[in-house]
Symmetry: C2
Subunit: 180 residues, 2 copies
Amino acid sequence: MLGIDPGLTRCGVGIVDVAPDRSAQLVHVGVVRSDPSEPIEARLALIATGLRAVIAAHRPDVVAVERVFAQHNRHTVMGTAQASGIALLVAGESGLPAATHTPSEVKAAITGYGSADKRQVQAMVARVLRLDALPRPADAADALALALCHAWRGGPAAAASGPLTPAQRAWADAERLSRR
Amino acid sequence: MLGIDPGLTRCGVGIVDVAPDRSAQLVHVGVVRSDPSEPIEARLALIATGLRAVIAAHRPDVVAVERVFAQHNRHTVMGTAQASGIALLVAGESGLPAATHTPSEVKAAITGYGSADKRQVQAMVARVLRLDALPRPADAADALALALCHAWRGGPAAAASGPLTPAQRAWADAERLSRR
């Protein structure tokens, strides 16, 4: 599962391997950057090249991209939308199905409620993936959260059922804690 | 000069050859379409393929893309922004410089004022290119207007000066008429 948090300057990419019991493993996390001083057409080409390299190296089955809204952050939203178009294009050209999720869908899937703050989401991602530290930068953490969200909400793993695994219990516990 | 009016369902493409005296000839006009019932990643891939085919067939020197604003047409603006990202990406990957122009820059360059209506822009494009009819659909006409705008505003032809050519006179006359 490849998650992409689209952005012109920093495009977060995170790959997780999610088992039918919903437990997850970190495969890859990183950021594709482009230099703001470069022309836009060169920046988008750089982002496409970076995303294609991640797909070629890790061969994900599905790509999840954060959905961009017109009303957010007007100043940068067009660049973010263009980067999301590149992410979806690269998925399509690689023959991979793509899905989009809103930030609140991601928050709800990861922490249990849609208005969780970024820090809570990151802490949960680190916990689920058994990382020693929060993934950095934030765009990379968001990409991992997206990948987990897609796996848990709609991926093939979502259809599986059964008793809680240790990872699920940790998730449910932390979810309860985060609601206090 | 390749002009692209980005859109998910219809992406207008227009190529014009502009002489140093600002006179212009139609080289190609058309629309790259994608089916709204297809998934977004397949639609963007189709648009990229269509635009690459136009570039391969006509080998333009420059690409001009309409600039998309967050505040317009909220419902479709994200798809339009994604399509514009694909247009810019294809330019960058073809090694072509790209420029963006706002709709009012295009109107001002073509008709002489930024609040001209679409019909006036189309009529002027038809006149400048000596077409028997208005180019159809509107997206294709907009793409031609963009290409002419870029050539006249900032292209190499813009630096040329000298007495008015017949095409320039026709343009100046029509501009005066359209202001009445």
